[in-house]
Amino acid sequence: MIASAFSQWSNQPRRYLYIAALSVVTMSGSVTPAHADVFDTVQAHGFLSQALIISRHNDFFGPSSRDAGSLEYTEIGANVSMRPTNNLLVSAQVLSRRAGDDNSSYEPRLDYGLLDYQLFANDSRVSGIQVGRIKHPFGIYNQTRDIAFTRPSILLPQSIYFDRTRSFGLASDGVLFYNEERLRNGIVYFAIEGGKPNLNGDAESALSLPSNDLSVSMNGRFSTLAQIRYEHDGGRMVFAFSAADVNANFNSGVDEVGDGKFKFQPIALSAQYNSADWSLTAEYALRKRKISGLDIADLNQSVIGDSWYLQYDRRLFADWRWLVRYDVMANDWHDRSGKQYENDNRGPAHSRFARDLTLGLKWQPRPSLLLSAEYHNIDGTGWIPPSDNKSEDLERHWDMLMFQASFLF
């Protein structure tokens, strides 16, 4: 199955991208003066996760409320990296992901592909520059959001790490500068990035609302992102502030509506405490979304929504952890209940918010094997991907049970 997933080379431009990425990896080895140990630095890693989702009332990631549930949540990835010189790291990862969408061929994408050059590294600081396709350092979990082992639960808190519109925050083709400053018992990390975001179909379908007959197409324009993070005492306490300004051209595909611009400006505050046996995590995000320049004035709109969650996870026995989380989002902070939205005949009120209570259990007998189960009790449909349900079928109160097996090397 994995082999067939990776043999799908249906898309020509992507194929060239992979070949280019592979050539970079190979060439940077051959250009460097022949150190005997350069090829000793080559590493390959990968991961595979398969979930079973069983839900009541609404579908999530496939037909989860029907029959025996949905198996349409699969993540398969592989990466290769090497250090051609002392200061240089070259890495690339291919990801094949299906999350109830129409990616039934598991078509792989270049997840990241970058050169990371460390300009300085001494006792007080490390600073460097990354060039290529870079995963966004946003919040605590974004950079490795598709790897089950680095998530606290099967699903990340959807109020901040939307799977519905994940490509707005995922990765950009551009340049990132980072600096890590060492203090007596902690570090201050700063990163700033500029580039063109990789927007996918998820962004387009999410923005096709309210009138579904619009066949929207979007492409990324120059966008920026920054994060500052303080880690105290080897990561016992972590505080972070992240901000992004994501821009795209918005082509409605309808003559009367015309073309416009889309702007997404999220900021997030993150805090985490890690002890030997438990972690407490909280994040708050404020999200501003703006569409402008369209010929129909009603469609030009600016909305501010906010999100937060509080999460406690604890070691149970040596290899077991359990988790409880409460996760809240509002699409519009002037209309948290969605009533105004419903009164304006734009859609159901419950599509404008979501409150998710999650209980989770994980067993990791080895660093390479993880089995997880979790239960979500949800009020609201604010973060359900539009492809999973017809909007008139959605019910306000719903719940789901998820199981996931993950393997990593």
Binding site: D37, L89, K135, I187, G235, P367
Partner: protein, 144 residues
């Protein structure tokens, strides 16, 4: 002595004894390939190198980090006593680097003897041993 007091005293004695037994271990030391001049590093630098965020040693040489498996008692003692973190936290930070393309995983060795041999034979090699197990094939770094 009342019975409750006896129980309490016994528990305290047991705890003290247990504590002493824990300290009866020899201390863990940071070792390096002799190509690196022995010296000292700050704890934050050692953390950064073992967390794989810094790729070079203070002398500019490429660092090659060697670790024992997560559950090995010496690995647990090294991460707690020298780095001040827990093995599962270190594993999580490696996974985050490896799968975001911003770092590599350390080299895992299967035994203490292999640790000594690999550090001794790899220029830029860095690892750890119990103090009594150190010989001339590796040099010792002090952690400030």
């Amino acid at each position: 002595m009342p019975r409750g007091m006896k129980v309490l005293v016994s528990i305290v004695m047991l705890l003290l004894w247990g504590g002493q037994a824990a300290h009866a271990h020899e201390s863990v030391v940071l070792i390096a390939n002799p190509s690196a001049n022995p010296g000292n590093m700050t704890r934050e630098t050692v953390r950064a190198i073992f967390a794989m965020r810094q790729r070079t040693l203070p002398n500019g040489e490429a660092a090659h980090v060697f670790v024992l498996p997560d559950k090995h008692p010496l690995h647990e003692r090294f991460t707690k006593e020298i780095l001040g973190v827990y093995p599962h936290q270190l594993r999580l930070s490696w996974d985050r680097l490896v799968f975001s393309g911003t770092g590599q995983a350390p080299n895992e060795v299967g035994s203490i003897e292999e640790m000594r041999q690999r550090v001794a034979s790899t220029p830029g090699g860095l690892g750890y041993l119990e103090k009594g197990a150190v010989d001339d094939s590796v040099s010792v770094f002090a952690v400030e």
